[in-house]
């Protein structure tokens, strides 16, 4: 009997949220798109602030980039996309190893790229919802202080932990697609996912000794 008031309170809460849900869908979609745009703008702002200063030691910039990359990119999802059907043929240990070395490759590759982009401005030009209602394509125009402006599209997904980037498309070239084409080709010729992991490890090591 004591449960009755509690029960009716719950009922009221459910009814209230249902009413709200019925009222907001359009607004919710619009604000999700807006938030996706803001997410990209804030991420690039942080990157330009923290990664363009040459006075900061390279190792420090690299660890900053790694944190930023982990917090803003869905690395496992990108890794699975890149391996395509081979993801399913890999065992759990290989999947884990691949994601780890893939992160290292990306960090080594992109962490040093930001020097020279101090003072770069980024403008979100358009946010377009994709077929999967939780994904958006955020179009941006990047205007470096010296050099021509260029366009970058960011595929962003709204997940349980917030927004995450799935793909970066520069002037019509998709990072995820390019890597998928290259990695699956290596898997075919180098004897499976383990062969790919080995080659990527070697690449990370040689980049480390070269720097």
């Amino acid at each position: 009997m004591r449960a009755a008031p509690q029960g009716s309170a719950r009922l009221a809460a459910v009814a209230l949220s249902l009413m709200l849900l019925a009222a907001v869908p359009d607004a919710a979609v619009a604000s999700s798109a807006e938030q996706a745009g803001r997410f990209i703008a804030e991420m690039t702002e942080t990157a330009i602030e923290g990664l363009t200063d040459n006075a900061v030691p390279a190792a420090e910039r690299e660890s900053r980039f790694r944190n930023l990359f982990r917090a803003h990119f869905d690395i496992p999802a990108i890794g699975r996309f890149v391996l395509a059907r081979y993801w399913r043929t890999a065992d759990a240990a290989e999947q884990k190893d691949f994601i780890a070395v893939f992160e290292d490759v990306m960090v080594r590759r992109f962490a040093p790229q930001f020097t020279g982009y101090a003072g770069t401005r980024l403008e979100v030009t358009k946010v377009q919802p994709l077929d999967d209602s939780r994904q958006f394509m955020v179009s941006t125009r990047i205007d470096p202080p010296d050099g021509k402006p260029f366009t970058v599209d960011w595929r962003v997904r709204e997940g349980d932990e917030g927004y995450r980037v799935l793909d970066v498309i520069g002037e019509g070239v998709s990072m995820a697609l390019t890597l998928r084409s290259e990695y699956t080709s290596v898997i075919k010729s180098a004897g499976g996912v383990s062969g790919l992991i080995e080659q990527l490890r070697r690449q990370v090591e040689s980049a480390a000794s070269g720097a």
Binding site: A77, R80, D132
Partner: protein, 279 residues
């Protein structure tokens, strides 16, 4: 010499067109890159490269040629010739190709772009001193490229299959055919033929190649250092860049070639990434 090159291209294109018809693109539900379902034929489908073996062979040959000739010449050219002169060389070559670009603008029904090309040609050939200076750009008529391979794509022709051409590099059956047709669309071809000056057409191609190579020394070095399969990376970059050029930079969201916007990252309805791995 030029007619020799054209002949080679024509033979290649025709020989491979037969292959292309036989292995015409599989039905991928209208998507150029089918999602990661399916059997072993799947890379062959989305890389569209059934001739990978001969392509890799020619690619290796081109790399060797690049290492031994093109890259050193490009480095020397960039070192010896000051930038304004190099820019004038490029302006001059671009102006020479204006008739071909104009023809393709018109064939694609792109009237605004055709007008820009025609205006550029008129201004730069006169005020720009035979094309040495790009004064039209400052007046709001920006340069754009266009070729018959793109025109064929606009008409709905698929790329056939991916091809690596000797010396000329990444291409496709469609783009190879385009190269041949472009040389017939070019008034200079006929001028040269009538004056026994075919060699100059070859010189023009060579200089354009060196100019392009000199502008991309670091980019290509980086790309190569960065790759674990340079051939596969170049193939992917070429095909994506062409798709982007064909759409004139607009993302292909709808229409006959759904592009990068419809890549499938395989999230299911609950928002979990589909995982059917056997572990």
């Amino acid at each position: 010499m030029l007619s020799g090159l054209r002949h080679l291209l024509a033979v290649l294109a025709i020989a491979l067109l037969a292959t292309g018809c036989a292995t015409s693109q599989p039905d991928t539900g209208g998507e150029p890159w089918p999602s990661a379902e399916g059997d072993g034929a799947y890379e062959a489908e989305y890389d569209n490269d059934p001739l990978e073996l001969p392509n890799r062979f020619i690619f290796a040959f081109n790399e060797m040629l690049d290492f031994a000739v093109f890259r050193p010449v490009a480095v020397t050219y960039r070192f010896l010739v000051p930038e304004p002169v190099r820019d004038s060389v490029r302006n001059f070559l671009r102006n020479l190709s204006a008739p071909v670009i104009l023809a393709n603008d018109l064939l694609q029904g792109e009237l605004d772009r055709a007008e820009a090309t025609a205006t550029r040609f008129a201004i730069n050939s006169t005020a720009g001193l035979l094309g040495l200076f790009d004064v039209a750009e400052g007046m709001g008529y920006e340069y754009h490229d266009e070729d018959f391979g793109q025109t064929l794509a606009v008409y709905g022709m698929g790329e056939g299959v991916y091809l690596v051409l000797p010396v000329l590099g990444p291409s496709s059956i469609r783009d190879g055919v385009g190269l041949v047709v472009d040389s017939y669309l070019d008034p200079l071809t006929y001028v040269a033929d009538n004056n026994d000056a075919e060699d100059w057409m070859l010189v023009r191609r060579a200089v354009a190649g060196i100019d392009f190579r000199a502008r991309n020394i670091e980019t290509l070095d980086d790309l190569k250092r960065d790759s674990i399969d340079f051939y596969a990376r170049i193939r992917s970059l070429y095909r994506q860049t062409r798709a982007n050029e064909i759409n004139n930079g607009a993302p292909a969201t709808d229409g006959p070639t759904p592009g990068l916007y419809s890549l499938d990252f395989e999230f299911d309805a609950e928002g979990d990434q589909v995982d059917t791995s056997a572990n």
